[in-house]
């Protein structure tokens, strides 16, 4: 499906586009004026080889008496070989012809004319011309091969350096800037990268970086793996732009537009090949990055899962089993008549039970924290009665709030809520526990469940130390504990964080309000409710 849009086909219809100023900036290097370039590439070497012939002639004229006549032609081979190895075939042939003419003109009788008297001299001269042309050809071919080898070597060197640089790329933006830099450095040309967006279109980096025609072409492209390659000739700047997709095996990361300047079709082809080699190298690296990224993610997830399992197993099994044995044994002891009848002994058993429950609460907190940190909490939602949730939470924490007077009140017609009851119970329990911790024993903790405008609010109010504005701000942090109570109230600071995470997972929020330090705190769990239940009530009968 890959079709080439030939650059030659584009020549005709680009003229009408007005030239932007910026386009010319990038191609200054080769726009140094074609006449001068032609002069430097073609005329200069010719002049130099002719100069060599002149030098040889002057030298021979000076050494006329010493050098035998039949060696003259051999001396003239020197400029030919020099020209062939330095400047190529044409200067060498020019040197051969000039040399022949010089021998004839200066040294073969009649001297100072271009005619020859002796036919042997003529053969001699023709032989010289033949040898000179052949050797110039051989020498220049050698030179070309050497040149090609050197160029190949530099190219390989560059490519090697490029792939080394790619190996150091760990993100896709790194890679893209590496490609851009590399192309700019080695080809001395601009490269503009159009990043693929989520919707399959390409983003233009900054308007005007590439010719309008290139931008328009990119805008009409849709990102997919079989993206065609384009070659566009931009007339105003007299340069050729290549458009190539940069992609890994499965995803297109963008399109790169490279200005490869102007030149003969052969040199355009060479540059195109080079750009393609670079992009191929880059797409291999992209593949590696894609795979690497996926593997990193999988590894992280596996580690998190392992950690979670280990923590969960250790906490629940290794710690809870001994607790179970302690609590069970204590409860058996407590039911023995001898102990049941002795108040002092019975209070000891109760103390054991209380401590076991406290420890179990801590373990539950750690299990919950592990659950919250290693994976997102996925609530198992089910329609529940808010009253059941409040009662269960209070009952679960009954021993922790035993020294307070807990007052529960419910709105008359509470709607059902679609939540994971266990998570809400746990969160409400945390709020209760905090209320008990931060308010004097004997004071009232009131728990209220009410319905208000499509929401169900479960609130816990205490008559305790209250909360300052600053503390309120810090409450959501993972292990926030107020500096005011660090020394006097035990705790890990995990509770509130877990509670708010659980509530958020159920689509609700926790709101804290306090009339200030010393005036008590109200913590409210706000959950979305459904009112459709009233119609269900009727259908029930």
């Amino acid at each position: 499906m890959n079709f080439h849009q030939s650059m030659f086909g584009r020549f005709a219809n680009t003229g009408t586009a007005p030239a932007g100023n910026k386009r010319e900036v990038g191609s200054q290097l080769d726009a140094e004026s074609p006449a001068r370039r032609f002069f430097r590439a073609r005329v200069f070497p010719l002049l130099k080889s002719l100069t060599c012939v002149c030098v040889a002639t002057v030298a021979l004229l000076g050494l006329d008496r010493i050098v035998p006549t039949n060696l003259f032609t051999i001396v003239y081979l020197i400029p030919v070989v020099i020209a062939a190895t330095r400047w190529g075939t044409w200067p060498a042939i020019a040197a051969a012809v000039a040399g022949t003419a010089a021998v004839d003109f200066f040294f073969l009788p009649p001297i100072y004319t271009l005619s020859i008297d002796d036919p042997q001299d003529a053969i001699h001269l023709l032989l010289f011309l033949f040898v000179a042309v052949v050797s110039s050809n051989l020498a220049s071919r050698l030179r070309n091969e050497k040149e090609a080898l050197r160029q190949r070597e530099t190219e390989l060197q560059y490519l090697y350096e490029f792939s080394r640089r790619l190996a150091a790329c760990f993100t896709i933006p790194d890679l893209i800037s590496a490609i851009q830099n590399y192309l700019a450095q080695t080809l001395g040309q601009q490269a503009v990268f159009f990043v693929a967006k989520a919707d399959g279109q390409f983003e233009t980096p900054n308007i005007g970086a590439a010719p309008r025609e290139v931008e328009e072409r990119v805008a009409s492209m849709i990102a997919n793996i079989e993206l065609p390659a384009f070659t566009i000739f931009d007339e105003p700047s007299q340069s050729v732009w290549l458009l190539r997709a940069v992609h890994a095996e499965t995803a297109v990361h963008g399109v790169i537009a490279v200005n490869i300047g102007s030149g003969s079709p052969a040199s355009i082809q060479t540059k195109t090949r080079r750009v393609e080699a670079i992009l191929e190298e880059a797409s291999l690296t992209l593949q590696r990055l894609d795979i690497g990224k996926a593997m990193d993610e999988a590894k992280l997830q596996l580690q998190a899962q392992l950690l979670k399992d280990a923590l969960h197993g250790m906490l629940s099994h290794e710690l809870r089993s001994p607790l179970a044995a302690i609590q069970g044994s204590a409860s058996v002891l407590g039911s023995a008549p001898a102990i049941r009848q002795d108040d002092r002994l019975r209070s000891l058993i109760e103390a054991i039970t209380d401590e076991v429950q406290k420890l179990d609460g801590f373990i539950q907190n750690l299990v919950n924290a592990a659950r919250v940190t290693t994976s997102s909490v996925e609530p198992r939602r089910e329609w529940a009665d808010p009253k059941d949730i409040v009662n269960a939470a209070v009952k679960l924490r009954s021993r922790r709030v035993a020294e307070h007077r807990v007052r529960i009140s419910f709105d008359h017609d509470l709607p059902l809520i679609n939540v994971d009851s266990a998570l809400i119970e746990e969160s409400l329990g945390q709020l209760l526990e905090n209320a008990a911790k931060y308010s004097p024993s004997g004071s009232v903790i009131s728990v209220v469940a009410r319905a208000e405008s499509g929401r169900v609010v479960l609130s816990v109010s205490d008559q305790g130390v209250g909360i300052t504005r600053d503390e309120q701000y810090q409450l959501g942090r993972r292990t926030f504990r107020s500096q005011r109570h660090l020394a006097t109230v035990p705790g890990s600071g995990l509770g509130f964080w877990i509670a708010s995470t659980f509530i958020r997972a159920n689509g609700g929020t926790i709101e804290i309000s306090s009339r200030g330090e010393g005036f008590g705190t109200t913590a409210s769990i706000v959950l979305p409710a459904s009112r459709e239940i009233s119609s269900l009530t009727l259908a029930n009968e």
Partner: protein
């Protein structure tokens, strides 16, 4: 209970747990057999014909759930599950597999004994026994279909009685939402737990002294409901 001495089989790999379970059950007149792994437990369950099995889920050689399934394939003996895992999903799954009830570690002996007695009562209940189920101030006559609270007869709607009946026949034991929905409703209503929640609210209005603080019809969150056999002090 029909036998003079009930035999309980404890299958748990923790010696210290077995030790207090033995003490607790023996203090209440049970005869106790112990197994420290699934293989031994299955063998004892087959040959010693226990009246009750207390089964720990984390056994070294086999998961407790599988032990439960194997025993259920040939026996209706009451089975109570011990577990450190307290996920509602797992509880429901075990109840569906045929467990009579579960207790989450750590627990007190009184709680386990209450479940054990409820399970035994249901297991040994025979037609010759009284058809009246008593739960604290509440009594339910399963034959005459009358319900009374503090000796005052109360009127229930058909669905309310259906719920009452199922809970009374399982008095002391948890009954899952699924089971209740399937036995009370028909058609697509039986998947809708909201009906059940509302029905429970109404029933509580009639049988609880304080419907906002239920003591008889207890919610087991995420699992089901339980009719307490006696009021907690």
């Amino acid at each position: 209970m029909s036998k003079s001495v009930n035999v309980v089989l404890v299958i748990d790999d923790e010696p210290k747990i077995r030790r207090f379970l033995r003490a607790g059950f023996e203090l209440h007149g049970f005869e106790v057999h112990e197994a420290e792994n699934a293989a031994e437990g299955l063998k004892l369950a087959t040959f010693n014909a226990p009246d009750l099995i207390v089964l720990d889920l984390d056994l070294p050689d086999m998961h407790g759930g599988e032990v439960l399934e194997r025993i259920r394939s040939w026996s209706n003996v009451p089975i109570i599950i011990l577990s450190v895992e307290s996920s509602e999903e797992q509880k429901v799954r075990l109840l569906k597999l045929g467990a009579d009830d579960y207790v989450v570690k750590p627990f007190g002996m009184a709680e386990l004994l209450a479940r054990a007695e409820a399970a035994l009562r249901r297991y040994f209940k025979s037609s010759t026994e009284s058809s009246v189920v008593v739960a604290g101030p509440l009594s339910v006559d399963l034959v005459t279909r009358s319900v009374s609270l503090d000796n005052q007869q109360i009127r229930l709607t058909r669905k309310e009685y259906r719920l009452m009946h199922i809970l009374a026949t399982h008095v002391g034991l948890v009954v899952t939402h699924d089971q209740l929905l399937k036995e009370i409703w028909t058609g697509n209503q039986r998947d809708n737990i909201q009906y059940l929640r509302i029905l429970v609210r109404k029933l509580r209005q009639k049988i609880e002294h304080d419907p906002n603080d239920p003591r008889l019809l207890i919610t087991e969150s995420g699992v089901g409901y339980r009719l307490q056999s006696r009021l907690e002090s």
